[in-house]
Symmetry: C2
Subunit: 103 residues, 2 copies
């Protein structure tokens, strides 16, 4: 998807959740739709077992900063800290190289 | 885990698998044990639903290169391309900032 855009940026969001996460999946869906509408958004992937990993890709650090401060996203972050997450870690990364395999 | 080590490096491995992945989970377990023994290894997280995401963390690009070329890992990569993966993408990233939340 993104090879020609290098360097671009990745946000690696790793988390563990509480047992009762009422409202989470609706919010996650809303945030995914909203993220895709942001300027500079390139793509995202998510998976969750014992830990959840969401990686989103962005054109610039500024795009990441804008998304972090987007009003509805701020509400979601606050709700996440209060109700859903036991722990999370956010890493801001510069993607320096990329390669892909297709069978 | 790693805040004081910044900058360090992340390898984001994103993949989709075939339906029959006989032998995969044994190999994945072996590779995780082996990765943890490599010089410069800092940590890793994995999760899989529709896509699988494994992120491993390393002290340097050299440590990543050495792991990529480690003999048993080369065998596993070859087997993965032949038998298990429909598609995969590997991104080599420099971790520039990190923050964490504990409830």
């Amino acid at each position: 998807m993104t090879n020609t855009l290098i360097p671009y940026y990745a946000v690696i969001f790793t988390s563990t959740q509480k047992e009762n996460i009422e409202g989470y999946s609706d919010m996650a869906e809303k945030m995914e739709i909203l993220a895709k509408q942001q300027k500079g958004f390139l793509g995202m992937n998510s998976a969750r077992n014992a830990v959840g990993i969401t990686v989103s890709y962005w054109e610039s650090l500024e795009a990441i900063k804008n998304w972090k401060q987007q009003t509805d996203h701020l509400v979601a972050q606050q709700k996440g800290r209060q109700d859903w997450y036991i722990w999370y870690n956010v890493r801001i990364c510069k993607v320096e190289r990329e390669y892909e395999f297709y069978s």
